[in-house]
Every structure is written in structure tokens, then in C-alpha cells.
Symmetry: C2
């Protein structure tokens, strides 16, 4: 019985592990993306797990101020460790990831420095980057404002050039122009990369970036006429509250002219605005890189939730006790499998798409170096769609895993509430998910129009060159097993995506005002964009499992997961497939039956398939998701650490409970 044995050597999931039908280590290597990446991850994960400074168990229990101070300590200690051990950039990134607590360093390394590299001239880089690299300055990325998020062109902060002093004057003209949300801004940063409207000679040249020092390098006090602070508590106990998302206002703050980032445009001493002739598309490479990271992160975050839910579902038993046998493992219920196993398959799918996006990044970088911009619209749309889809599904998937853990998933000790709270902003930052999908939809309509006039669609949109076939063909499935044929599956997703896009395209084309037709049809356009993105993931998964993959049984497991992933999407969105006339209801029904057969194939491997993610107990931070399955012992033990349990008789008893129990609510001593 769970909880009877405890400590090293206990493994309540041993039987589950023994039943796995594939080589675990090979799968770990596959998921890590090879031996080198595996080694780095393992080393950094262990380094964090074994250093008490990085302990994270109390973060939901301490007040925010202490939580924030702890995160500063961890960030500083991480930096010290990086220098001490001479870690590479790759190792440093992994290290920060495993510490698993958002801090100012993320924005410094992830936004401030890359933006300098992308938008500063070489001279400017020479001036600023060495300081930034040794963290003699701490930078943040100050774009969004209280009243302005996704629409960068709507920003109100102004940077007005004063030729008389060769300075820009930064100013926040309205309440809504207050910079709002930048991470690391609230309490930590010394410098901000401020996006503001460039005004010279009374003309507004739109939004540009400026380096602005906001705090003293001596005593960290805000500089004169700079108002800066934290924007307040966010979703979750720990969650993102270790980050000092900040607000910032300028009251005519002056900075030297050369603090404008001038790679793409300059202002001369005389106040003349000159746009450089460097192609603006050069920035796209960085965007692909960032989005590739987001998709891989989605897979990692979802894998943590799925690990917890799968292990706990194998431990938890409920109903169905018979003849002295214990109750049934929750993971054996079809309703549980129906919600959980598709998410398990999704983790694998997104990991594989992440690998592919690494290739895409390399490809686009090479093209940009050769001034080949031909694939950019497709790459832009594809990465926008994948960012949107993977983050949205991951956020919802984490919460679904929490629900799959029943009541105990609601305890912070499960690790799941915080995982959701800390992850869900990914749906908003780096491009709001809904707006990104509308961008994908615009691309699809444009591609269809161009295909109509003879331009061949490329890359992930290539199937749109095959419209005639895809809008006339019918699905060939007549038995459940037919759904396991990769070309059958691919055609289904291509036909559905193509038909949805064409359906929208025809309606927009017919409308007198295409812009208002676009708004009118936007719910359908979003759905068409989603269908397109799902197709991309399904096709990349299918491509992957058609290659050789080393390790006993590894390829077979991936095939099962690939089919499960695709069929789960298909049955969940059966309305699309039916409405476009590609599938019959009988074919949908066969898909559902086949899906259940795949559940049964996954079941004996489920625990091993999450073990393959190779998360340390420290990184998971979950009593429910422990490797050893000793769930109840640790839930019980850790409950006693709650501050409320510090005293046997609760604080407040004498003032607020005793007067109730003793009917002494009135009188001079009453505090009620």
C-alpha cells in the first residue's frame, strides 16, 4: 500500500516501468535531440537539483517581497555559478531554465541583448554589449504601455529630438502612455530599451528604440524625472510573481542622441531623419529563433504537467474494487485516457516540431545571408501559427492535467497550479495568440489568391498549390486500420485545411469591402488558421516517424503517438471534417474506434513515456508527480510546513473565534 515504505529504493511505479515496450534511454536521447544536448541538460538539471540555494519548495508559502528577494538571490547565485564554472551560453540557458523561476536575467539575456544585437550599429554594440555581457548594466525591454499592447504603432511615449543640445527628450504624455509590463523593469533594471515615437522637426516618424538609463549605477535609485515601480501581484502564488514586471514614466528625460538604436534609421545632429537601406527583413531570423524556443518550451512545460498527471493517475485508485482486489487505477479508465493520452502525444508532437523549427531557423538564416527573402512570408506565418497554437494548447493542457489529478491537483503541492500560472503568459507575450492566428489567416488568403494567379505556394503552404485535388477528393477510409496509413491521414488534414481556407477566401473575395468582410468572417478565419497549424504539426510528426530512429521499440512508440495525436485532433474537430464534406460520419466513427485501440497501445508504456522526459523531482516540484510514486507520504509531510500549522491553536483564535464560540461578541474587549 502506498506510504508503507518510504525513502531511497522505494518505487511504487516499478511494475508500470517493467511493462514498457521500448528502450527508455534511446527515447531520452531522441527527445533531448541527441547525446550532447542530453548531457548538457542532465548536468545542468542535476547541478540545480543539488544546490540548496536553488531550492524552490517554499515559494508558494512566502510573501511576495520575500519571494522576490529569493529570486534575486537565486539569479545572483546562478550568475556566480556560471562564471565560477565557466559555463557556455548553452549551459547557462539550461541552468536558468532549470532554476524555474522567472527573473530579470531572462529579459536581460533574452530580450535586451538580442535587441541590441539586432538594432544597434556596430559602434553602439561595441559601446553597450561588453557592459551587458558582464552584467555591469541590467537591461529590460520597455515596449508595451498601459493602454497599448499588441498594436506597437499605437504607442504614445515620445522621444523628441532637441538639436540645440543634441538630445532626445523622452516623455510620457498621458496616463495610458505609461510603460507597463516589461519584466525586470519594476525593481531590478538599470537600463531600459524604450520604444517611443521619434519626433524631429515636429514630424512623427513612428516608433523607434532608445537606450535609457533609469537607475543610478551607484545606489540604484531612479534617475531624476523617472518614475518606476512594480505593477503588482499576478496570477498564482509563486508563478510569475518572482518577476518585477514594471511601470515607467518619463517627465522630459533627456538622453544623448546616440542612444537611439541606429541600425535601421538614424537622426543626424541637425535633426534629419534618415532611413537606412538595410533590409528590414533581417530581423526575421531572430524572430524565428525566438519562436522556435517558445515551441520547444511549450513541449517542455506540457511534458511536466503530463508527467505529473500520468504518474499520479497510475498511483491513484478509485471505484471498481472487486473480490479483495484494490480499486482500479485511474489511468485505466477510458475517460481519463481520452483526456490524458492525447496530451502525452502532443508533447512528443511539439518536441518534433521544435526540432524542425531549428532546421527552419538555419535555413532562413542562410537565405537571409544570401538576400533571399522569398520564403519569409511563409516562414513568418508558419512560426506565428505554431507559436500561437502550441502555447494555447499547452496552457489549456496544463490546466487539464491539473483537473485530471482531481482534488489534489488543486493543492500547490501538486505543482500544477503554479505551472499553469507561470506558463499562461506565453499566450500573450511575443505576439498575442489571437492576433497571430489572424495573421496566419491573412497569409492563407493571400497565398490562395496568388496561387490562383500562378504563384506556387512554398514550404508548409505547398499543399495550397493542390487545391483542385484537395477540394474534390474523398477520404478512402473503410476500416479502422486505414486510419493508420500516413498518406490517408495527411490527406485528411490537407483537405480539411484547404477547404476551410478556400471557403473563407471565396466569401471574402465576393464581399464589396474585403476588410470588413475579414472582420465579419474572423471567427471562421481563426478556425481555418488553426486547421492549417494542426496540419503543419501532423505533417512534421509523420515525416519524423518515417525516418529511421535508433533504439528498440522507439520508432513503434512514436508511430503510435503520431497516430494518436492526429486522430485526437480529427475526432475533436470532427465538425470541420464533416462540414467540408471530406469525411462521412462513419469514417469519424471508425477514427474514434481506432483512437481507443491506440489508447490501449499507449497504456502499458505511459509511465515510461513520461519517464523519457527525464525530469528531476526537483524540476517537477510536485508531490503527485514524484518519480517513486510515493505520493501520499509526501503530501502529508509537506502539509505540515504550511504557515497555518506553525501554531496548534490558530492565530486569531482569541480575537475572532473565541468570542463567537463564547457568545462574547460585544463589550469593550471585542475586536469584531
Amino acid at each position: 500500500m502506498i506510504g508503507e515504505k518510504e525513502g531511497a529504493g522505494v518505487d511504487y511505479l516499478a511494475e508500470e516501468r517493467a511493462g514498457a515496450q521500448f528502450d527508455l534511454h534511446s527515447m531520452k536521447l531522441f527527445l533531448a535531440g541527441g547525446q550532447h544536448a542530453y548531457d548538457v541538460s542532465k548536468r545542468m538539471a542535476d547541478l540545480v537539483a543539488n544546490d540548496p540555494v536553488f531550492a524552490k519548495e517554499d515559494r508558494v508559502r512566502v510573501p511576495r517581497k520575500e519571494h522576490y528577494k529569493n529570486s534575486l538571490r537565486k539569479a545572483g547565485h546562478a550568475w556566480k555559478t556560471i562564471l565560477e564554472q565557466g559555463l557556455t551560453e548553452e549551459e547557462s540557458m539550461k541552468l536558468r531554465g532549470f532554476i524555474d523561476e522567472p527573473t530579470y536575467t531572462e529579459l536581460h539575456w533574452g530580450m535586451f541583448i538580442p535587441a541590441l544585437k539586432g538594432q544597434a550599429t556596430e559602434e553602439q554594440q561595441h559601446k553597450w554589449l561588453p557592459k551587458a555581457y558582464k552584467m555591469a548594466i541590467i537591461g529590460c525591454y520597455a515596449q508595451t504601455e498601459l493602454g497599448h499592447g499588441s498594436n506597437v504603432q499605437g504607442l504614445e511615449t515620445t522621444a523628441t529630438f532637441d538639436a540645440s543640445t543634441d538630445e532626445f527628450v523622452l516623455h510620457s504624455p498621458t496616463l495610458t502612455s505609461t510603460k507597463w509590463w516589461p519584466g525586470g523593469l519594476g525593481k531590478a533594471s538599470t537600463h531600459a530599451l524604450v520604444y517611443a515615437r521619434l519626433i524631429t522637426d515636429s514630424q512623427d516618424y513612428g516608433v523607434h528604440a532608445f537606450i535609457v538609463q533609469i537607475r543610478s549605477l551607484e545606489d540604484h535609485t531612479p534617475l531624476p524625472n523617472v518614475t518606476v515601480g512594480d505593477i503588482g501581484v499576478k496570477f498564482g502564488n509563486g508563478g510569475y510573481n518572482s518577476m518585477d514586471n514594471g511601470l515607467l514614466r518619463f517627465d522630459h528625460v533627456r538622453i544623448p542622441r546616440e542612444n537611439m538604436l541606429m541600425k535601421l534609421a538614424t537622426v543626424t545632429k541637425e535633426g534629419k531623419y534618415i532611413r537606412s537601406n538595410k533590409p528590414r527583413q533581417l530581423g526575421y531570423g531572430a524572430m524565428v529563433f525566438v519562436r522556435q524556443g517558445i515551441v520547444t518550451d511549450a513541449s517542455i512545460y506540457l511534458s511536466r504537467a503530463v508527467t505529473i498527471a500520468v504518474r499520479y493517475s497510475a498511483i491513484r485508485r478509485q471505484f471498481g474494487a472487486k473480490d479483495d482486489k484494490p480499486e482500479v487505477q485511474v489511468i485505466d479508465y477510458r475517460t481519463q485516457q481520452y483526456r490524458l493520452f492525447p496530451l502525452l502525444a502532443t508533447v512528443y508532437a511539439y518536441r518534433i516540431v521544435g526540432f524542425w523549427m531549428k532546421w527552419l531557423y538555419a535555413d532562413v538564416t542562410e537565405r537571409l545571408n544570401n538576400n533571399d527573402f522569398s520564403t519569409l512570408p511563409e516562414v513568418h506565418s508558419c512560426t506565428a501559427g505554431l507559436k500561437s497554437m502550441t502555447t494555447a494548447i499547452t496552457a489549456d493542457g496544463i490546466e487539464e492535467c491539473r483537473k485530471l489529478c482531481g482534488g489534489h491537483g488543486y493543492l500547490c503541492a501538486s505543482g500544477l497550479p503554479e505551472l499553469y500560472a507561470v506558463y499562461v503568459p506565453a499566450c500573450t507575450y511575443e505576439g498575442d495568440n489571437n492576433i497571430l492566428l489572424l495573421q496566419v489567416a491573412r497569409f492563407l488568403l493571400k497565398t490562395l489568391a496568388q496561387a490562383g494567379s500562378g504563384t506556387k505556394p512554398v514550404g508548409t503552404a505547398a499543399y495550397l498549390g493542390n487545391i483542385q485535388h484537395l477540394t474534390s477528393v474523398n477520404c478512402k477510409v473503410s476500416r479502422g486500420e486505414d486510419w493508420l496509413n500516413p498518406s490517408v491521414m495527411l490527406e485528411a488534414f490537407e483537405a480539411r485545411a484547404a477547404r476551410m481556407a478556400v471557403g473563407c477566401g471565396m466569401r471574402v473575395a465576393k464581399a464589396p469591402d474585403s476588410e470588413s468582410a475579414f472582420n465579419e468572417l474572423s471567427p471562421e478565419l481563426v478556425e481555418a488558421a488553426q486547421a492549417h497549424c494542426q496540419l503543419i504539426v501532423v505533417s512534421k510528426f509523420i515525416e519524423q516517424v518515417q525516418k529511421d530512429i535508433p533504439g528498440e521499440g522507439v520508432k513503434q512508440q512514436l508511430e503510435v503517438l503520431c497516430n494518436l495525436y492526429a486522430l485526437s485532433l480529427l475526432t475533436a474537430h470532427s465538425g470541420d471534417f464533416l462540414a467540408t464534406g471530406y469525411l462521412t460520419s462513419r469514417q469519424v466513427s471508425l477514427a474514434k474506434d481506432q483512437q481507443k485501440a491506440l489508447f490501449s497501445a499507449v497504456r502499458p508504456n505511459a509511465v515510461a513515456l513520461v519517464d523519457a522526459f527525464d525530469h528531476t523531482d526537483n524540476y517537477l516540484g510536485s508531490d503527485l508527480g514524484r518519480y517513486d510514486g510515493d505520493v501520499y507520504t509526501h503530501l502529508y509531510k509537506n502539509a505540515w510546513k504550511d504557515p497555518l500549522n506553525e501554531s496548534v491553536v490558530t492565530e486569531g483564535y482569541h480575537d475572532y473565534l473565541r468570542p463567537v464560540l463564547k457568545q462574547q461578541l460585544w463589550g469593550p474587549a471585542s475586536k469584531l
Copy 2:
């Protein structure tokens, strides 16, 4: 511009309000359920809003211990207010609701006392109820255990009768038998209603209820051999963390025999177990009452989220600025309407279902008094399904509203993170939502089987008596407006629900082992149950709008919302309607077009339709959802209250930031 004016008299939503096409006050009365209920709510809401003891703005910022102490203070003050002002039971319940912070009093009044009333003999009630009514004892409801949730029959705690002392011995034989989750148990309660296996003469008679004192009435220390404490931090900052959900273990704790609740079964002095001849179904009335409350609460919680999201969507502007005109209000985008307006309609739908359930409760009570148990299976299934559906949709809907508020929805200042965190347990308590849906599915299969052998289905299942027609008829819709015909709509939902149930029923009937077929088919059964529940809500909404409803334009608004509610379900679940062959894809497409026409009808009334919920700013607790729309001013002002802003230079600067900036990471003074 927002934020230019502030204070009393400012109304940035005035224009929105002026455009409404119905009488607001009449709508308020309708939603409240009449003048009396409206008056009580208004009085209690204002009482709470105007009493500084009930202020709630700092609850996300204080540490848990302080948060808990504050909640004890509020609970005590509420009790004092109730006595002082001589509030009725109805008023007291409303008062506690508006305080909007879960505490031990909820369980005392909502579970402990009702359980005593339902399961204690008159003599026992006479002994315990007076003490409970004056709160001389505080009770909680200790059923679930660390290893056992929904399956009450699996509980492990034992109550072994010892005839030699005429006592029961309460014991927790295993770790997993630890009582876990009961609200009010952790730190506040003096007594617990403990569910334990009754053992007498070495025989196990299953789970029964016992009153057990757990803390001293003198000094509140736990009684000997009782281990009791809080189970730890839960999802959210404030959220449910004001509640001391507790753990409880017994080490052979003795209680008098008469502490067993003996209405339905007794144990004699000699240890003989005697089941009473009172029908067990009598408890069903209470269950209907509780579930009616849950459905009404769902409507209230969702209405709070929708109020915030609608008002903020009318204030927030983004993209589309043209010719010096400001950006477009977010509420004017179809993508926003597509996600937001169906939730608005859902609030109205659930409110109306709540009204109907009040009638159902009265009806079932009268029947039980007349020993008429004929409608109980249908009532049980219907209330189980409605509890499950409304809580699940409300939880997801709150989170959807949060997402609809963009980045700012992620701030606790929006009120939405806490609203979600505090609401989502409703999906688990009082019956886990998934298990409830499977109960509905079982009822549907049974009803179909009985209908086949001539028993006429009743109440909300009556349509299953019409299977022949519903499985053969086709939808008559040929133009979009046809969807506005109530009988067309009703038939669509009946046909789809009937066909899904019949489809499952035939497969289970054909299977050799119907129990394993049930598990195998459970995902489809859950979907069939959901279709059935959606039909109930749609049909009750349609019934309501066919009656006379006073107030200019009120009935028209309700008709629009009714159609929107139904069509939104229909388009979201179009796969069901298509797969069952009832609808063609053209009819689905017409439904989508009609849905958009309804969005346009809702749009000018949206703000007034949420004003009709009549929430005070205090109760909403949201900077985004303020009545006056002065969003940005208050976001900005309230940010400064964050603990991190108490000092200009952050705590931790000298120890953890300065060493980084100054490259002083090593040396004797380093704390890194």
C-alpha cells in the same frame, strides 16, 4: 481620454449605456427573481460594500497567515452583524456571499447543520442543533480522505463499537485514511461530522456518520489522540486560501454511542445494527436544494467575469485607428464577440435554469412528502448533469474572460485570477463533474431501455419517449432566420441528444459484457450526457422566453440571448449535429451566419446587459470591471500598493543585485 477625469460622476461607459434598448431596472428585477430577492440582495451588497471590516482589496498581497486571520475576523464580524441587525436566514446567506471569502462558516451552515437535520434523530437534533445555531460549537463535514474522494464506499476510517463502554472507537488505520480536504477543519472547527466504516461484532456495515469533538471548547487545543491541521496552500493568491481545508487523524479516539447519527440506522447498546425503515430517498430533497444553489452560483460567478470582460472590452481600444479617430473598441471585433457574447448569454441561461430548479425542488419536496418517488431518478440525473455542466462551463468561462482581457487580465487587480482560483473547486466538490456525467449517461441508457419496454420517460427525459420521430426526422432550416423558430431549435437539440444516446445504447446493448462496454464507450457517453444537459438548458430558456416578461424590451433581449445561447452551442458542437445526420453542413453554415446577426443585436446592449447583474464595484473587486470604466487610473494607482513598491530601492539590492552589477560576487561579504 480615459484617465483624464476621475472620481464621482465620471462615466466612461455613459455612451454605451445610453444606447441600450431595454428597461434596465426591469431586467434587474427579472434576474434577481423578483422585487423581494432584489431588495435583499441590494441591501446586503451595500451593507458589505460600506463596512470597512469587509474590505478585500489587500487579500492577494498579504501572506497566508494574515489572510486567514483576516477571514476569521470577517466571519466573526459577519456573525456579529447578523445578530446585531437580526438578519433572516436568507439575508445572512446573502451577506456571507457578498463578503466573498470562503471561511469555516460556510461549512458550518452549509454542510454540518444540514447533515444534522438530514441524518440525526429528533432527539439528536434537539441536543446538537441549538448549540450549532448559536455557534457555541463549530462543525465541519469530514468525509473525503487522502486516498479516497468520490468513492465514498472506499473510505477507510473505522468506527468500531465497543459494547463494554458503550462507545465507538474512531481510528485512522492507514496513511491514506487520513481525512483530507474538509473545509473549516484545519484550524477552526470544534466538531466534525466524520464518515467512517461502522464495525460492530467484527462486521463492517459500511460508511456512517458520527459527531466527533476534535478541539477543546475551552482553549481550542486538539483533543487527545486527535491530529489535526491545515493541508497547505491552494491555487491562487487569495482564492480559497482563506479556508482552512484540513487533515484529521484518529488514534483510537472514543466517542459515546449516541454520537452516531441514527436517523437511518442505529446500533443498540448490545452492538446490534438495525437499519431503519425510513426511505433513504428522503435525502434527495436536500441534494436538489444544494444543486439548485450551485447552478445559481455558477450564474453569479460567471456574471462577475462577464461583467468585467464586457466593460473592459468596451473601454479597451486596439488597432484600426483611422483619420484621427481613436483605435477600435475591442468589443467591436467579431473574434471578441464570438468568445464573449455566448458567455453573456450563458449567464442568463443558467439564471433561468436556477429559477426552474427552485420549482423542481418544491415539486420534489411535495412528492417526497407524499411518498411519491417516481420522478427521483430523473431528478437525480438532471440535477447531477446541470451541476456538472454549469460548474465546468463557468470555470472555463471565467478563465476565458480573463484571457479576453489580454495582458491586464493576468494582473490580480483585474479580479479574474482570484475569481477563477476560488471558483474552480466547484467542479470537484459536491460530486466530481466527470463522475456525475457518467451517472447521467447511465440514466439515459436505462431510460432508453425502459422506454423500449413501454415505460414512459418523464420530465427532462420525456423527449426520449419520442425516439422514433427524433431519429428519423431531418431539420427543416432553409434560411438563416429559420433558426430563430423555437420549435426548430428545440427539435435540433432533442434530435441530436436522442441520437447520441441511442447510438451509445445500441453499442452497449450489443456488447457481451455491458459493464466493460460502458467503460470502453465512456468518452462517447460523456458526450451524450453533455448533449442531454445542453438540451435541458436550451429548453428551459425557450420555455421562459415564451412567457410574458414585464419591462420595455426585456423579453426581446432575452429572446436574442436565448437564440444566441442555443446557436453558440450548436455551432461549437456542430460535429455532433452533423455526425448524427440531423443537420447538413449548409444548415450549420446558416446557423453561423445567424449567430453573427445576433452578435450585432447584442452589441449595443452589451454593457447594459451586464449592468443588469447589478454587481457593486466592491463585489467585483476589479480595476478592469469598474462601473465607471475608469480602468487605467485605478490600475495605476493600485499598482503602487504592492509590497515591492514600499521601498524605492528594492530589498535585496545590496546583497544580491549590487554584487552582480559591481562584479563583487566573491569574497567574505558575498551572500551569493
